[in-house]
């Protein structure tokens, strides 16, 4: 047993791939751009970036060869919407940095210093093939959660790839509750905040953010300036059709808003309007229950139908074990493939389903040139799997982030190994490590 595990942990990449050319050959290669898998493909990596990937890729002279015959080679999974790295134990508040109910600040909050690269959640999700994640704060006492980040899951202290990557706001049922009890109130709060940010932008020194009638302090106003100016995306959580259209309508008065919708259970019912507005969606894949009144039309066909209507869409995990189980992404994507066999339902093709958890979320976050696919020039975030990565029986054999091989152990694997054979101990388990 121990021998098997040790074998799996063998470094395929004997030296850091950073300064060397490596060719991964013989595997089924998934580019991640929506195309079908390529059997017997090759992936060439140099200096931590993808040089080439696909069917007819030449192996450069002198390249170190990694034989992936019988395995699948894919880009790493990109968590489209997560709280990864902000939470160790959900119900232990000292380890939960996802929201701040007693803070004086809201939009100005920044998750970057709160990300814990050594969190068990990061190591555990790494074992599930996740290499990058969009990390959002949760809201607490206002509609604004603050500024989210894009991170990598590498086993080092340098997790934050892009800090202050977006602002997060709630404008559905939860937004109404946060704003005082109605959607009228949440939209009033939102409009006031953006108007104040514009005032702040014109003359920060003169901003009256300390006065009681501005309702927005300087820190929060400053954080909303790039949002109202369209320089960073505004990620809006809505589920219901009316809320989706109300958010789209905000662009009449705030034309530069760079909106990304998240959740969006009823998106399929207004998919043409979303597509016409050119607003991308990071949707929950399998929500099919009227969990709240804002989700009455929820169906597993939501993503497929939006995609068919021309909406730019990806899979996210909002409020669905979003701090711990981004490793479900592959299972969720696989379920959307399965849906194609149900008459009347709409799923995704295999290639699309994989893209929905790799290049599509990367592109929605404006990072498609950096991560999410094995197209030339992208960061070498590569996962070698022992089978079809969307299949439940498959596991990760090797992972690279920025071309650097990553450990695939976690607290979880250590506990497993300690207790695999409890009958043979000469000493208590505490001596087994």
């Amino acid at each position: 047993m121990k021998a098997l595990l040790a074998l799996l942990a063998t470094l395929y990449f004997a030296t850091p791939a950073a300064a060397q050319t490596v060719a991964i050959t013989g595997g089924t290669v998934v580019i991640g751009d929506g195309a079908d898998p390529v059997p017997g493909g090759t992936v060439v990596v140099r200096d931590g970036r993808i040089v080439a990937a696909g069917a007819n890729v030449a192996v450069p002279a002198g390249a170190q060869i990694v034989d992936a015959t019988g395995q699948w080679v894919t880009p790493g999974i990109v968590g489209g919407f997560t709280r990864l790295g902000l939470v160790e134990v959900g119900a232990v508040s000292s380890t939960n940095d996802s929201s701040a109910a007693d803070s004086d600040f809201s939009a100005g909050l920044d998750v970057a210093p709160a990300i814990n690269p050594l969190s068990a959640a990061i190591a555990t999700n790494r074992t599930g093939g996740v290499t990058r994640a969009v990390v959002a704060p949760e809201t607490a006492n206002t509609i604004f959660g603050g500024q989210g980040a894009v991170i990598d899951l590498g086993a080092d202290m340098d997790a934050v790839m892009r800090p202050r990557a977006f602002q997060f706001v709630e404008l559905g049922e939860r937004g109404a509750a946060r704003a005082g009890g109605s959607r009228s109130a949440s939209h009033a709060s939102f409009r006031n905040a953006l108007d104040q940010a514009l005032i702040y932008a014109r003359n920060p020194a003169a901003y009256g953010g300390q006065s009681s009638d501005s309702l927005l302090n300087r820190v929060d106003a400053a954080a909303l300036v790039p949002v109202v100016q369209g320089r960073i995306p505004l990620v809006v959580h809505v589920e219901q059709a009316r809320d989706i259209l109300s958010v789209i309508a905000l662009r009449t008065d705030y034309p530069r808003l760079n909106i990304i919708l998240v959740g969006v259970s009823e998106g399929w019912t207004v998919a043409p309007q979303i597509a016409a507005a050119g607003i991308p969606v990071i949707a929950s894949a399998l929500n099919d229950l009227p969990a709240q009144f804002e989700q009455l039309a929820a169906t597993q066909s939501n993503i497929g139908r939006m995609r068919d209507a021309g909406v730019q869409v990806a899979i996210g995990m909002i409020d669905d074990n979003d701090a711990h189980q981004i490793r479900y992404s592959t299972q969720y994507a696989g379920n959307l493939v399965a849906l194609n066999n149900v008459p009347g339902a709409t799923g995704l093709s295999w290639g699309e389903a994989f893209a929905a958890i790799s290049s599509w979320p990367a592109e929605i976050m404006g990072l498609g040139n950096e991560i999410g696919s094995l197209r030339p020039g992208r960061r070498a975030d590569i996962v070698i799997w022992d089978g079809d990565p969307l299949e439940l029986s498959s596991n990760v054999d090797v992972m690279l982030i920025d071309g650097v091989q990553q450990p695939l152990t976690s607290r979880q694997t250590r506990l497993r190994d300690r207790y695999l054979s409890i009958d043979e101990q000469q000493l208590p388990q505490a001596f087994e490590w």
């Binding site: 047993m1 929500n287 009227p290 299972q331 399965a338 979880q412 207790y419 695999l420 009958d423």
Partner: protein, 471 residues
């Protein structure tokens, strides 16, 4: 993940509804008298009215069959009629007039049994008015029966049927209390009443809880229990009180005299000690499960199952020796302190040690994919060197939960004479690419992927956006 709904529920004032006196028929009145005769009171005052729906004699042929008891038949046949499995084998004689279902390339399994569901008592939509799973007003509410919270129109039931192949499910009270109340086992058929779903003859369960939840709920109110030691102390005192109650009734039944006053709390606990009611014990940590086992021994009752059992992998020997099933998630972790030590091989590690492993959901979404949860656990176990066949693993989804629910003589495997609870999958049910194609309950076809008319829509969803949108 369930929200801490009990906090909301406790603050709601409920309006009393107009009471209606149903005209009880002479038949049911005499039935109640008959039930009363042996025990001095009616032990079944809310009897099942479930009747199987009509089905035609059916033969599925050419399928890969997991019989639910660990056996696999390739290219096999299943024949069911009159609500029961008639025969299963490689070749069967096809009776005249039987409906033939071509199962070539498809899989047949027993219907999935979820031993831990809150469908009906925490239904969708999850609004405050629907939070009926925790009577969080005292640590011992063994008097409540969760069947009285079950809303049969919960849309989750039909999702569990159509997407999950779930044919039987156990609805448990929540874990706010040390004694949460009685659970109820249901057939997963659409019905106007809870009684119309109630599994005939299934024993009641008692939901117990250890660990963080009870001590948090009551500790936060400066009430007992606010520690794990008080969890045990309060529970032991309840058992002691129930023993006295039990003796009073035993004395009355044997010797007559003054009829003891009935007490619903003690009635349930006495039912546990009599062996009539099965204990389903919410417990995460290994050390706490050991404490619960000792407490059960002290008061002479058995624990049918530990629910969640995050650390079951640390004590599979204890579970095996005490004949206790562990009902587990494949991989939930990290949501609270007592769920920090999850291993994704928990289910196969328990099974591999010879103990009874069950995959449960406790969730209205994962109940739609319990086959996938089992598949993940199975794969992770194999990765760690634990070889369990697919057919053997199906026991986690049907026979083992049936055993822990006391209904294994009626369902849980494709054995002749058992209820014809059957799922035909459109592929390997341990593959992410497979879905239920047809689902029979007692031999009645209640879901057919290819027949839009056989997709139930609850009253709540009728006339709403998305009605009938396949889901």
């Amino acid at each position: 993940m369930k929200k801490p709904a009990f906090l909301l529920a406790a603050t709601l004032a409920l309006f009393g509804c107009a009471t209606t006196t149903s005209g009880q028929s002479t038949d049911s009145a005499s039935a109640a008298r008959a039930r009363t005769a042996a025990t001095a009171f009616d032990p079944d005052p809310f009897p099942s009215t479930y009747r199987r729906y009509p089905g035609s004699p059916t033969v599925i042929q050419g399928a890969t069959i997991y019989d639910g008891e660990g056996g696999q038949i390739d290219n096999g046949m299943v024949y069911f009629a009159d609500g029961e499995i008639q025969a299963i084998g490689e070749t069967l004689d096809v009776p005249d007039g039987a409906t033939i279902v071509d199962g070539t390339g498809l899989w047949v399994t027993p219907g999935i049994i979820d031993i831990h569901s809150h469908l009906g008592n925490y239904p969708s939509p999850s609004v405050a008015a629907h939070q009926d799973g925790n009577e969080a007003t005292g640590p011992n509410t063994a008097n409540v029966w969760t069947e009285h919270s079950v809303w049969p129109q919960d849309p989750g039931f039909s999702r569990a049927l159509a997407n999950g192949g779930v044919t039987t499910l156990n609805i448990l009270p929540g874990s706010a209390n040390l004694f949460g109340g009685r659970s109820v086992t249901l057939r997963n058929v659409p019905s106007r009443t809870m009684q119309g779903m109630k599994f005939p003859g299934a024993p009641y369960g008692l939901k117990m809880a250890c660990g963080e939840n009870p001590k948090r709920v009551y500790g936060s109110r400066n009430q007992t229990p606010r520690s794990r030691m008080a969890n045990i102390a309060v529970a032991r005192q309840a058992w002691i009180d129930a023993q006295r109650y039990q003796h009073q009734w035993e004395n009355y039944r044997e010797n007559g005299g003054t009829r003891p006053a009935r007490n619903l709390r003690n009635e349930t606990l006495a039912g546990v000690m009599n062996g009539d009611i099965l204990v389903h014990n919410h417990c995460y940590r290994a050390d706490e499960m050991a404490n619960m086992i000792d407490m059960a021994e002290e008061f002479g009752y058995s624990i049918a199952s530990f629910q969640h059992a995050i650390e079951a992998y640390k004590i599979p020997d204890l579970l095996r020796e005490n004949g206790i099933c562990a009902a587990m998630w494949a991989d939930w972790w990290g949501f609270k302190m007592e769920a920090y030590d999850t291993v994704f091989e928990n289910v196969p590690m328990v099974h591999n040690a010879g103990a009874c492993a069950i995959v449960h959901s406790d969730d209205d979404n994962q109940i739609q994919r319990l086959n996938q949860e089992a598949a993940k656990a199975l794969a992770d176990g194999r990765r760690a060197g634990i070889e369990i066949s697919d057919a053997e693993a199906w026991q986690w989804l049907s026979l083992n939960p049936a055993r822990a629910l006391g209904i294994a003589d009626q369902t849980g495997s494709l054995s002749a004479g058992k209820r014809a609870d059957v799922v035909l999958w459109n592929g390997d049910p341990f593959s992410v690419y497979s879905r239920p194609q047809m689902v029979w309950i007692d031999g009645a076809l209640l879901y057919d992927m290819n027949n839009p008319a056989l997709r139930p829509i609850s009253d709540f969803e009728l006339g709403q956006p998305g009605e009938g949108s396949v889901r």
